[in-house]
């Protein structure tokens, strides 16, 4: 199926990831009777059939565009609605590496959660490996069951089970796991059940995924009690950066602009003075009055300011103040900069790793 090998052209029934915008990817099954509605317009599924994966297509009206992407576990993780229990790629990739999960690995995952890590593990262990994944939450189990079938993940077995109470054994299966991932509220209560299902002929590795430090503490105690060694705890700090351009605003231009403003003001003041002198010559008494009258004075100032405003449009404007400038506008100088997200995922979970030596 579509997750397993890349194909080049989209066919009816394929799972396609519609890339609508940054951070918005929508998985769809191509069904020529359907259409996809997005804020960028409507796209007929029929227009997707025969397209290359990776193609940009136009909406029915021709005004909006989306890209048609091939499913991968990583895009799947990004596209997941913010359901519970998503293990994101920075964590899942590191866990895979540290547990030395490779094609042929036999892996235990509990719980399945959103199934995001399941997809990634299924890819990495490949046809020669096997993944045993357990979920005790009925609804999540059903949802995952559907999804895995739908996505053609065949190298795994999903079990509806509370592994803390009922262990990992599966009738008619020798699990023989060499890598274990526990994403459970109380991993310490599942750890004692592992001895019956791990491969005792080789080094077995484990990772427990817990958000709170107190869980880590209990987990370490239990791992040690159960003879796991080389216990290590880490957390993954992850940041995402977007690239931007920042306008270079040099002092020379600042000073030129200030001079320009001065000049304009001086001209404005000259005008005012002339006007005043004219008035003074005509009505000296009124002028005196005006000085005692706060309100009138303000009015004069306002008039003056208005003059300046009128002239603003022709003034020296080196940085495009008040105009809408597009980042990177070639009329200005720019520096490349980067910016992290306005809201960052500052914590996912602590990862506690250990291994068990082969039997002597």
């Amino acid at each position: 199926m579509s997750f397993k090998n890349y194909k080049d052209f989209i066919e009816e029934g394929d799972l396609v990831f519609a890339w609508i915008s940054r951070g918005m990817i929508k998985p769809i099954h191509v069904d020529s009777t359907q259409c996809l509605n997005t804020r960028y317009g409507t796209f007929n599924h029929s227009s997707m059939v025969g397209q290359r994966y990776g193609s940009q297509i136009a909406s029915k009206t021709g005004y909006g565009f989306i890209y048609l992407l091939h499913p991968t576990p990583e895009l799947w993780t990004v596209s997941l609605p913010h359901r519970t229990q998503i293990v994101y790629s920075p964590d899942s990739s590191y866990i895979t590496q540290k547990l030395n999960i490779l094609p042929g690995s036999r892996v235990i995952e509990a719980g399945t959660g959103s199934g995001s890590f399941t997809h990634s593990l299924s890819r990495t262990i490949s046809d020669t490996g096997k993944l045993f994944t357990y979920e005790f939450h009925e609804v999540r189990y059903q949802k995952a069951l559907e999804e895995f079938q739908d996505h053609g993940l065949k190298n795994l077995q999903l079990t509806h089970r509370d592994v803390c109470k009922n262990g990992f054994e599966i009738e008619g299966e020798v699990i023989n796991a060499n890598a274990i991932f526990l994403d459970l509220p109380a991993p310490w209560s599942a750890i004692p059940n592992l001895d019956k299902v791990i491969n005792k002929g080789m080094k077995t590795t484990i990772c427990c995924f817990s958000p709170c430090i107190e869980q880590v503490e209990k987990t370490i105690h239990e791992l040690h009690k159960q003879n796991w060694t080389s216990i290590e705890t880490v957390e993954i700090n992850h940041r995402k950066w977007e690239s931007h351009k920042n306008m270079v605003r040099k002092l020379d231009d600042v000073i030129a602009r200030l001079k320009d403003i001065q000049q304009r003001k001086r001209e404005g003041v000259e005008k005012l003075r002339k006007a005043r002198d004219e008035r003074l010559n005509k009505r000296p008494a009124e002028e005196e009055m005006e000085n005692d009258d706060g309100e009138k004075k303000v009015k004069t100032q306002n008039n003056y300011k208005k003059d300046v405003n009128v002239e603003k449009s022709q003034s020296f404007n080196p940085f495009g103040k008040g105009l809408r400038i597009k980042q990177g506008d070639p009329n200005f100088e720019w520096k490349n900069v980067s910016k992290d997200e306005s809201e960052i995922k500052s914590h996912t979970s602590f990862l506690t790793f250990a291994f068990k030596l082969p039997e002597f």
Binding site: H82, L251, L258
Partner: protein, 495 residues
């Protein structure tokens, strides 16, 4: 400097709300202040209490001071207290709630509109029967003891109970409304997540925070104002400056009473306010700006420093004035261009109105001359740049006015611009020693014993700080011969 222990009229204060939000309010005597859904209060009733006091909103805009620690906190602490016995409980719930919140946040206005629509429907339709209520309860019951049957309905439940609460609010506006609402929530959700005690407590805390009618009055210190701006205003306007970066800047720049600082402040005056607090009325701040008028809104509007105090401590000047010879400025500046100081006997001869006018003009004129002389003489005790201008060009122009061995502290939203500045310092031989770039970020934890973890999401950004020292380089170094030239280059490249 001033007594900041008691609540006084005509001052701006920060009102901390149960939602963990806050509001800036000016305490005009005899007025009534509205806190939106948390109710109103009469200003006169809170005057004279100490800052940090908690009040409860009663009927008719009356308030009652509350003894002891803030009520919002009590709840959070009660969760903390129970943390230890909850070993067996499920963690998942918590994460679900947090993620739902995140989702809701992202959906933003869209959902708010939907909620409003539902609320309107409910209010408008008169034939709203009890059948709807039954539906709600039934849905709530689905959150039964075993959360392995838990359906992802969180958002819906919240929406529905919100409607009910709105209805209750309409029913009675007694001083006990908040408390009643919360009790009602507890009763109604009695069956909800029996096993997930922690989630329950957390959920209730949120509800309680939302519907309780307590508030706290805080003094608007520079720190509080900074945080208010970060939480409530467009942080791009204060260059994305975080509290931790601000704190770091203030210490690195050695800000203290009696210091004379040359700065650029594009944080709406938040930097200047923080510095003023640290200077306690001694010393001076010269703010150079690309515009004729420096925007120090935050300081001028909310700090409660009287204008005369600010004018004494803070001098503003634009770059043209800063770089031009004094005579040029006096000849061209608006305030002085048409002003000539008169001998005393001539001043005495002026009419009353003309004299007043003269005195004012003279004051402006001498202020300007004072600022200019201050700038020209230089030897400032520190340079702090918080600007969007191209930093190397600014540095070249200002560094000469900084005293020897004083700190140069430069903030930027972007590390790249500070790296650029570093290379400019090296290439253009700007006399700044040991300039490095620092990033400092505070990471918050959920401080609930038994449930301690770093918070799941937090604000990005916060900026970068470059710190170096103004020095005097030996001129003769250049001319010591080949072997030494090499050494000299090494030294040049090391800062």
């Amino acid at each position: 400097l001033k007594n900041i222990t008691h609540i006084k009229e005509n001052e701006w204060v920060l009102v901390r709300l149960p939602s963990q939000g806050s509001k800036l309010v000016e305490l005009k005597k005899d007025r009534v202040v509205s806190l939106g859904k948390f109710g109103n209060f009469q200003v006169n009733q809170i005057l004279g209490y100490k800052f940090g006091q908690t009040f409860e909103v009663m009927d008719n805009d009356n308030v009652k001071p509350v003894d002891g620690r803030p009520v919002f906190d009590e709840i959070s602490a009660s969760i903390g207290g129970g943390g230890d016995d909850e070993e067996e409980e499920e963690e998942e719930e918590e994460i679900e709630v947090e993620q739902q919140q995140q989702q809701q946040k992202q959906q933003g206005k869209q959902q708010a509109n939907e909620n409003q629509e539902i609320a309107n429907q409910l209010q408008n339709s008169a034939d709203q029967t009890n059948k709807d209520k039954a539906d709600i309860i039934e849905k709530l019951m689905k959150f039964s003891e075993d959360n392995s049957n838990l359906v992802d309905l969180g958002a819906k439940v919240q929406t529905l109970s919100t409607l009910e609460i709105e209805a209750m609010k309409k029913q009675s506006y007694s001083s006990e409304t908040g408390r009643k609402i919360i009790e009602s929530i507890i009763n109604q959700h009695g069956n909800f997540d029996k096993k997930t005690k922690y989630s329950q407590a957390k959920y209730l805390r949120r509800k309680r925070e939302k519907y309780s009618r307590f508030f706290i009055i805080e003094y608007i210190s520079a720190k509080e104002l900074l945080n208010y701006y970060i939480d409530n205003k467009d942080i791009r306007k204060s260059l994305d400056l975080s509290e931790e970066s601000m704190a770091y800047i203030l210490n690195l720049a050695n800000v203290r009473p009696g210091g004379r600082y040359l700065i650029m402040d594009e944080s709406l005056g938040l930097l200047t306010y923080c510095m003023l607090e640290r200077m306690n009325g001694q010393g001076e701040i010269v703010v150079v700006s690309e515009n004729e008028h420096v925007n120090l809104t935050a300081l001028e509007r909310y700090s409660n420093y009287p204008p005369v105090y600010i004018n004494k401590m803070v001098k503003t000047i634009d770059f043209l004035q800063f770089i031009s010879p004094i005579d040029d400025i006096l000849a061209s500046d608006e305030a002085c261009a048409f002003f000539k100081p008169l001998p005393k006997d001539e001043v005495d001869k002026l009419s009353k109105t003309k004299k007043a006018r003269y005195v004012k003009k003279f004051s402006n004129y001498s202020d300007l001359i004072k600022i200019l002389k201050t700038c020209k003489s230089g030897n400032f005790d520190g340079l702090i740049l918080l600007t969007t201008l191209y930093i190397p060009s600014v540095l070249e122009s200002l560094i000469g006015k900084v005293g020897g061995s004083r700190s140069v502290v430069i903030y930027s939203q972007f590390k790249e611009l500070l790296v650029e500045t570093f290379h400019a310092i090296a290439n253009q031989n700007i006399p700044i020693l040991g300039a490095s770039v620092y990033e400092t970020r505070a990471r918050s934890y959920q401080a609930v014993p038994g449930k301690i973890h770093p918070v799941m999401t937090s604000r990005g950004g916060g900026g970068y700080v470059m710190w170096g020292t103004r020095v005097f380089q030996l001129e003769k170094v250049e001319a010591v011969g080949k072997g030494n030239k090499k050494k000299k280059q090494k030294m040049e490249s090391s800062p």
